[in-house]
Amino acid sequence: MTASLVDFDDVVERYDPMLGLEVHVELNTNTKMFCGCPTGFGAEPNTQVCPTCLGLPGSLPVVNRAAVESAMRIGLALNCSIAPWGRFARKNYFYPDMPKNFQTSQYDEPIAVDGWLDVTLDDGEIFRVEIERAHMEEDTGKSLHVGGATGRIHGAEYSLLDYNRAGVPLIEIVTKMIPGTRERAPEVARAYVTALRDLIKSLGVSDVRMDQGSMRCDVNLSLSPRGSGILGTRSETKNVNSLRSVERAVRYEMCRHAAVLDAGEKIVQETRHFQEDTATTRSGRVKETSEDYRYFPEPDLVPIAPSAEWVEELRGTLPELPWARRARLQAEWGLSDEELRDLVNAGALDLIEATVAAGAPAGEARSWWVAYLAQQANAREVTLDALPITPAQVARVIALVAGGELNNKLARQVVDGVLAGEGEPDAVVEARGLKVVSDDGALIAAVDEALAAQPDVAQKIRDGKVAAAGAIVGAVMKATKGQADAKRVRELIIERCG
């Protein structure tokens, strides 16, 4: 084992990283890939199972049509060709997470091949990632290792298996080797997984929740001595379960590989596991000589042969894809690249669009979400979309301001009320008594009082120094607890001093 890591800058000085990413996406179909069991997350163990997904003798699988369609839509959105004919295969292995002792998967006949995904890096540069394939398979059951100190398999006395997840449709999306990323390899990896997540989310075929395991990423990495053209041995890091971890896993593996190579040692071809707490990777299964899954065509399932008509019908169902939507919103809202990127990174795009759809002007909607509401989200340490306020409610507050019934200060108090669970904006206005005072009678009295309190300022205004009116406006606002219509107050001051 090599103890030290090479400094990242030093790594990219002397080595070129070769990156490959395998992403598993659990589809959100109602039923499993090959049987009619439900797929919901979090049910009691072994309550979403049947003879087929338990691999009981005599049971036969039948392919879920919706899963095939979701797979094809993912392939089409990734600019892949859809294979006109393909079979499932059995991937044979002995491990209790599959009760059949094999996983039904596509192997050399994947449903989608040769595509690409353009991903946007932090500085706005577009990086094209080539897609090798997307294929259908089924998820495995969940193991619980009992007896070991850490809940890990090492040192466990026995294991407990829940097969609710066994057979849930999975799509595995595999990139081609991604060359030329250099020092941006970690960033490219994260940007790719982000773009893929957004794409699949827009298709509505998966929840793509990395925290719940409905999207999982394996990072393949090798280093090639700069300019040598020699491919290094790769490691495969599993268990990379957040966008940040994708970036950190690539960075760590680059530094680790360089340290091993610098020491004149060889990289071991192995599966490693990412450790969330330390941002390091730990050796898992060593692939000693070869993995032998003895794939062969699944005899219990007939080939999948999508007609051109079926493929075109599905192509017609593709929604506006995230990058097209972004370009459209950027144009509609008149945003710079940087402004757009900030909105995307803040997760504000959907919220602003929905607020605009609820009738608010884009500029106002954007300003609320990226300024005041972003501050509230930060203070509560939640994401914007987790704030307890809806785009429609924000749009209503904006409308109240536009109608002169609220000023900005009052509007923020109304938003505070909504966030505090006091109900709809109008109810908060009512309950907190937050209406702008624009009743001239009340305002004139307050203006006269303020002018009388500051005779020198009043004189300046009478002498034509209109700018001095600000002090009187301030006094009136204070006297009315911020509820006065400031514009009207200013008009009245000029009138009274005229």
């Binding site: 490959g20 990413l21 109602n30 039923t31 049987c35 009619g36 069991c37 009691e44 163990p45 072994n46 309550t47 199972v49 049947c50 003879p51 338990l54 039948v62 392919v63 049509r65 919706a66 079979r87 295969a89 002995f94 491990y95 209790p96 192997y107 050399d108 090798e132 495995t140 619980l144 009992v146 398999i153 006395e157 294991s159 407990l160 298996l161 829940d162 097969y163 595999v174 990139t175 081609k176 080797m177 393949n220 491919l231 071809q269 299964r285 692939k287 070869s290 993995e291 032998d292 899954y293 003895r294 794939y295 062969f296 065509p297 699944e298 005899p299 007939v302 080939p303 042969a305 999508p306």
Partner: protein, 127 residues
């Protein structure tokens, strides 16, 4: 090209598939070696004695040789087949069907605990 039963995947680029084993393709000439039988036995978690290795190597040879005779009658215009019935595109709608209760699911299990199948210690492997 002889029949291959082990398909090395080490060293392949990510996503590049190793060749599928087509037991029904190509002439069979190479005999199955004891090492190959031992390897297959290990993959299948079977304990095989030295004496059995010789027996099985011979028997597997006969089986493969018999199957390979298909290749003698299959002309070039007959593609290898994986299914006996010429069917394609058989699907079911994405509709729930009743399954088993937890009790039913676990009824055939040698051991269970907390609603889960209990299996012996899994050594030296991690999925």
């Amino acid at each position: 090209m002889g029949t291959r039963l082990d398909v090395p995947t080490a060293g392949r680029a990510p996503g590049v598939a190793a060749p599928v084993i087509h037991l029904l393709e190509g002439p069979l000439s190479a005999a199955i070696t004891r090492d190959e039988v031992a390897h297959l036995a290990r993959l299948a978690r079977l304990a095989v004695t030295d004496a059995e290795l010789d027996v099985f190597a011979g028997q597997l040879d006969v089986i493969l040789g018999s199957v390979a005779r298909v290749g003698e009658v299959a002309a070039d215009d007959i593609p290898p087949t994986s299914h006996a019935v010429p069917l394609e595109n058989v699907y079911r709608p994405d509709e729930l069907r009743p399954g088993l209760s937890q009790e039913q699911a676990l009824s055939g299990a040698p051991a269970s605990e907390d609603g889960r199948f209990r299996v012996p210690q899994i050594l030296g492997e991690e999925a």
